[in-house]
Symmetry: C2
Subunit: 253 residues, 2 copies
């Protein structure tokens, strides 16, 4: 039963999709582009074969060539430290761009790996940077997306720096919920394409803690879990949870 649901979500895509007809148009790079301009962008975009689960479009240390727009499926990015420990830096959903962190050093600081069957568009960066010189809308949108990535990371910092374990998990669930909603999926029922281990790693927790939290949330009637299938029952309470932090010092200026 879960398998079927996953497939339903995953296999929306056909291999050959133009930006014009892509339902992610509003979320992705081409937002604001039309006619001739959009054609130009499409000309530089390569559409590759979908990735199978666990395949990587690029590895940490690879020379930076392209950024990648997820079309369907999902991807995680992670860095491996010198000591071999892995830190997941993000989960990416359809319409999101992966690889923007490679621009500064011309080399990918993290590895991307498909969490499930995932199709994507490859956008050669040199061409993109050049084209963004000619198309103000594209330039605008690119900078905007990069800025959003910075904001997102800053939020995550807040999360890892200050929040308790339950608030962290709640935040992740809410983030996925709202992003999925924006993409036309249900905000209240969805599949987690990542493992408990991935979630724990991302949130800076132990797997056991994450597992316990899922059952606790369920006991509290906040969510309904069955393996990777999650149903959010009390969205508002989850939201409240991420807000009412333990620390109560409103005097700080």
């Amino acid at each position: 039963m879960m398998k079927n649901d996953t497939d339903k979500i995953v296999t929306l895509s056909k291999i050959k999709v133009a930006c014009q007809s892509c339902n992610l148009y509003e979320l992705c790079l081409p937002l604001g582009l039309h006619g001739e301009d959009l054609d130009q962008l499409e000309k530089i975009i390569k559409r590759a074969h979908p990735l199978k689960k666990n395949e990587s479009p690029f590895q940490q240390g690879d020379k930076f060539q392209s950024i990648y727009a997820i079309r369907s499926g999902s991807v995680k990015t992670y860095t491996i430290a010198d000591d071999g420990s892995e830190q997941i830096t993000g989960f990416y959903l359809p319409g999101e761009l992966v690889g923007l962190d490679a621009i500064s050093d011309d080399c990918h600081p993290c590895t991307a790996k498909a969490l499930e069957t995932t199709s994507y568009c490859e956008i050669p960066y040199t061409a993109l940077e050049q084209l963004s010189g000619e198309l103000p809308s594209l330039r605008h949108q690119l900078l905007k997306i990069m800025s959003k990535e910075i904001t997102h990371d800053a939020n995550l910092l807040m999360l890892l720096g200050k929040k308790a374990a339950d608030e962290r998990l709640a935040s992740l669930l809410l983030s996925l919920s709202s992003r999925l909603k924006n993409r036309g999926f249900s905000a209240t029922e969805f599949h987690l394409s990542m493992s408990r281990n991935d979630i724990a790693n991302y949130l800076g927790l132990a797997v056991e803690t994450v597992s316990r939290l899922f059952t606790r949330f369920q006991d509290q009637g906040l969510i309904q879990v069955e393996g990777k299938f999650v149903q959010i029952i009390k969205l508002e309470e989850l939201k409240a949870m991420t807000k009412e932090c333990t620390c109560e010092n409103p005097k700080m200026a």
Copy 2:
């Protein structure tokens, strides 16, 4: 004695400095620009009066107008959550750009505050975005700086997600050390312009923990501390500290 040292570092700047003669040229936005192009960039840059300690160039929620390049001094950025708790998202040194996270929503998601007397250049964003269309080098450098910000945040995530308290403090000290070095200051002796409280907040720790760590590091002979003045004695050992993480699972693929 500490006051004097601080002043020495802070008051390098004169109010009117053109990018051409600014010693931060290599680190800042104009990198790669010359002659005519550099003139164009300079034309849009405003140079404002220095900020006194605790003054803010912008506040959380302000409409986004400009990004800010620090010329001398230093700045912290922080967000205030709904519950009033504050999370510091970054410390910025000369040559670094503050406010890039505001591009995506056209509104500053954080407040910036001077940690000491700080001079800066204000760069109106609309003009910058437009100009970056005409000047490939500028466009390149802007994207690069934004990408670096993303990478930096990702590192910090790693820090807060996985590392123990002592590794976090070591990382911060090393980050400051190397950034100061790049800016022509000493890598081994410097002032912390931020309070212990700020450090603790940034690293997701309690002030008491930070304080204890400073004394412990000193007892271990790693550093020498006197208030805000820090001298790094064993740079290599500090570096080793940030690498040898507790978790030893090199089997993870």
